[in-house]
C-alpha cells in the first residue's frame, strides 16, 4: 500500500533522514520505534506532505485495484483526499473549537453528507466519551480524551491508511491499553495502521511488523516477535538487561 524508497530530508542545513526506506502492506499494522530525535516525526511530516524530501520517492496505492501515486508531488491538503489520515504529534486538537467541530473538520474533504453523519455516529460509538462532551471546547478535555478525539477525527476522513504519531504520549498505562485495543478493532475494520511510538512494548505487541529508526537511518526491521527478542532492541528500547 505504501512504499517509501531511499528518502533524504534536510531541515535547514542538518541532514535529518539519510536514505530511509519503509513498506506498509494493506491491512497491516506497522510500528516504527526510535529514540527522541531519531527523525520519526520528520519522516511522518514528509509522508503527510508538510515537508518535501530532497531525494527519494514515496508511492501510495489507496485501493488494491487503484492507481499508485507519488506523494512527493502533492500538497498536504491533497494527500488527505487520497485516503491517508494523520494523527499529529501532541494530538493537535483545535482547542477553541468544540469536540463536534473537531470531528467535522476531520471530514472536511468529503462531500457525502450522509456518509459523514454515519461515520460521526460510528466514532461516537467507538469513543462514547466524545458523545458526552460533543458541545464542549476540545481544549477542556483530558490528555486521553484528546487522544481519542484526535483518532476519531482522523477516522472521519474514512482513511485507507491511518498514521499515528506517539498516541501513548503522556497517558497512563490503563488508558494506553484501552486505546491500543481500540486501534486493533479499527484495524480489523480494514484500516491499515502505521504506528510511531517510543513505548516500544505496546507498539510491537500491537503491530505485526516493525522498523527501528536511529539518527535518520533504518537500522533494523522485521516481524514484531523477532524484534521483541532482539538483544540490541531490548537494551535500547525495552530496558531489558543485556
Amino acid at each position: 500500500m505504501l512504499k517509501v524508497a531511499d528518502v533524504h530530508v534536510y531541515r535547514g542545513r542538518t541532514h535529518v533522514l539519510k536514505g530511509v526506506s519503509l513498506e506498509v502492506g494493506r491491512g497491516d499494522i506497522v510500528a516504527l520505534i526510535g529514540a527522541n530525535g531519531a527523525g520519526k516525526t520528520t519522516l511522518l511530516r514528509t509522508l503527510s506532505g508538510l515537508l518535501r524530501p530532497r531525494r527519494g520517492a514515496i508511492r501510495f496505492q489507496p485501493r488494491a485495484d487503484g492507481p499508485e501515486v507519488d506523494l512527493t508531488r502533492l500538497a498536504a491538503e491533497d494527500i488527505v483526499g487520497l485516503g491517508i489520515s494523520h494523527c499529529p504529534e501532541g494530538r493537535g486538537v483545535f482547542a477553541r473549537l468544540s469536540v463536534r467541530e473537531n470531528l467535522l473538520i476531520g471530514a472536511y474533504r468529503r462531500r457525502d453528507r450522509g456518509g459523514i453523519e454515519e461515520d460521526y455516529q460510528r466514532v461516537r460509538a467507538i469513543f462514547p466519551i466524545l458523545e458526552e462532551r460533543a458541545g464542549q471546547a476540545a481544549g477542556s478535555l483530558s490528555g486521553g480524551e484528546q487522544e481519542m478525539l484526535a483518532i476519531g477525527r482522523a477516522l472521519m476522513s474514512r482513511p485507507a491508511l491511518l498514521i499515528l504519531d506517539e498516541p501513548s504520549l503522556g497517558l497512563g498505562p490503563m488508558v494506553v491499553a484501552r486505546l491500543f485495543g481500540v486501534l486493533a478493532e479499527i484495524n480489523r475494520q480494514g484500516v491499515t495502521l502505521l504506528l510511531v511510538e517510543q513505548n516500544a512494548v505496546a507498539a510491537l505487541n500491537l503491530a505485526r511488523r516493525g522498523y527501528v529508526l536511529e539518527t535518520g537511518r533504518m537500522v533494523l526491521s522485521g516481524p514484531s516477535r523477532q524484534l521483541l527478542e532482539d538483544p540490541n532492541v531490548q537494551r535500547a528500547y525495552l530496558g531489558g538487561t543485556a
Partner: protein, 298 residues
C-alpha cells in the same frame, strides 16, 4: 450639559464606533488567521470610498447595488494584496509582515495621489440620505441610521459565517494551527484568501459609510481608520472578532465623549487621552478585553 446633549454625544459615538468596528473586524480576522498586523487595511477603506464615488457618479446606480460593487472591489483588493505581498512571506517573523503591510499602504496611498490627485473631493450621497430626523433632543441623519443598522447586520452575518459555516470552521482551525489544518485537508491558501476577502470587503463598506457620513474623501483618508482599527482590535483583544466589535465601539464612544463632556480646552488632548486610556486598559488586561492568551506562533 442636558441629558439631550449627552444622548446626542452617545449617538454620535455609536455611529463613529460602528465604522471603527467594521474596519477592526477585518483587521482582527486577518490577524487571527495569519498573525499579520495589516496596516494597509485602512487604505482598503479609502479604495472603498473612491469606488463608491465612481459607481455613484458613473452608473448613478441605487445604493444597494453600489454597496455590493464596493464589497466585491474591496474583497478583490484584499485578495490581490494577500497574493502579491503577504503569501510569499508567510513563514517569516511577524514584524516582517507588519513592515510589508506598511510598504503596501505607502504604495496604495501614493498610487491614489498619482492617479486621483491629492485634492479632497466632495462625496454626494442621494438627498434622501441626508434628511435629518429628530427623536426628542437627539438629531441624526438617515445615513447615520443606515450606517448603524447595516454595521450591526454585517457583524451578525460575519459572526454567523465564522461560527456556523464550513468556511468559518476552516478559518478558525487555520487560525489556531496552520499545519494541523493542512493535515485535515483544509486548503489553507483558499481559506486565508477568503478571510482577506471578507475582511477587506467590510473595510470597503466602511469606506462607503465614511464617505457618506463625512461627505469628503481624499487618497490619504485611509490612515486614520487604519490606525484606529488597529487600536480598537487591540483594545478588544487582537484576533477575537467580538473583541474587535467591542473595541471599535469603546474607541468611538471614548473619542466623542472625551471631547463632548469635557471643557473645550481639553479637546486638543483627545488623542493623548484615548491612548492613555488604552494603555491603562492594556496594563489591566494584557491581552485586551476579550483577548485570550493566544500563544504566539512565530
Amino acid at each position: 450639559m442636558t441629558t439631550g446633549y449627552i444622548a446626542q454625544q452617545i449617538v454620535n459615538g455609536l455611529i463613529l464606533g460602528s465604522m471603527y468596528a467594521l474596519v477592526a473586524i477585518g483587521f482582527s480576522m486577518i490577524y487571527g488567521i495569519v498573525r499579520l498586523i495589516n496596516f494597509a487595511h485602512g487604505d482598503i477603506v479609502m479604495i472603498g470610498a473612491f469606488v463608491t464615488l465612481g459607481l455613484l457618479q458613473s452608473l448613478g446606480a441605487p445604493l444597494p447595488v453600489v454597496a455590493v460593487g464596493v464589497l466585491l472591489s474591496g474583497a478583490g483588493m484584499g485578495i490581490a494584496v494577500e497574493r502579491a505581498a503577504f503569501r510569499p512571506m508567510r513563514g517569516a517573523p511577524q514584524v516582517t509582515g507588519f513592515i510589508a503591510s506598511l510598504a503596501v499602504s505607502i504604495m496604495l496611498q501614493n498610487l491614489g495621489i498619482l492617479t486621483l490627485t491629492a485634492q479632497p473631493r466632495n462625496f454626494a450621497f442621494p438627498d434622501y440620505l441626508q434628511a435629518v430626523i429628530h427623536v426628542g433632543a437627539v438629531g441624526f441623519r438617515v445615513i447615520d441610521v443606515v450606517i448603524m443598522l447595516s454595521a450591526v447586520l454585517l457583524m451578525g452575518l460575519l459572526l454567523l459565517l465564522v461560527h456556523r459555516t464550513r468556511l468559518g470552521m476552516a478559518m478558525r482551525a487555520t487560525a489556531e494551527n496552520l499545519d494541523v489544518a493542512r493535515l485535515m485537508g483544509i486548503p489553507i491558501n483558499r481559506t486565508i484568501r477568503s478571510a482577506f476577502a471578507v475582511g477587506s470587503g467590510l473595510a470597503a463598506i466602511a469606506g462607503l459609510m465614511w464617505g457618506g457620513k463625512f461627505g469628503q474623501i481624499d487618497p490619504l483618508l485611509g490612515y486614520v481608520p487604519g490606525l484606529k482599527s488597529f487600536v480598537a482590535a487591540v483594545i478588544g483583544g487582537v484576533g477575537s472578532i467580538p473583541g474587535a466589535i467591542l473595541g471599535g465601539y469603546v474607541l468611538g464612544l471614548a473619542e466623542v465623549l472625551f471631547v463632548g463632556l469635557l471643557p473645550p480646552i481639553y479637546s486638543a488632548f483627545r488623542d493623548a487621552f484615548v491612548f492613555a486610556a488604552l494603555i491603562l486598559i492594556l496594563l489591566a488586561l494584557p491581552n485586551g478585553i476579550l483577548g485570550k492568551a493566544a500563544e504566539d506562533r512565530a
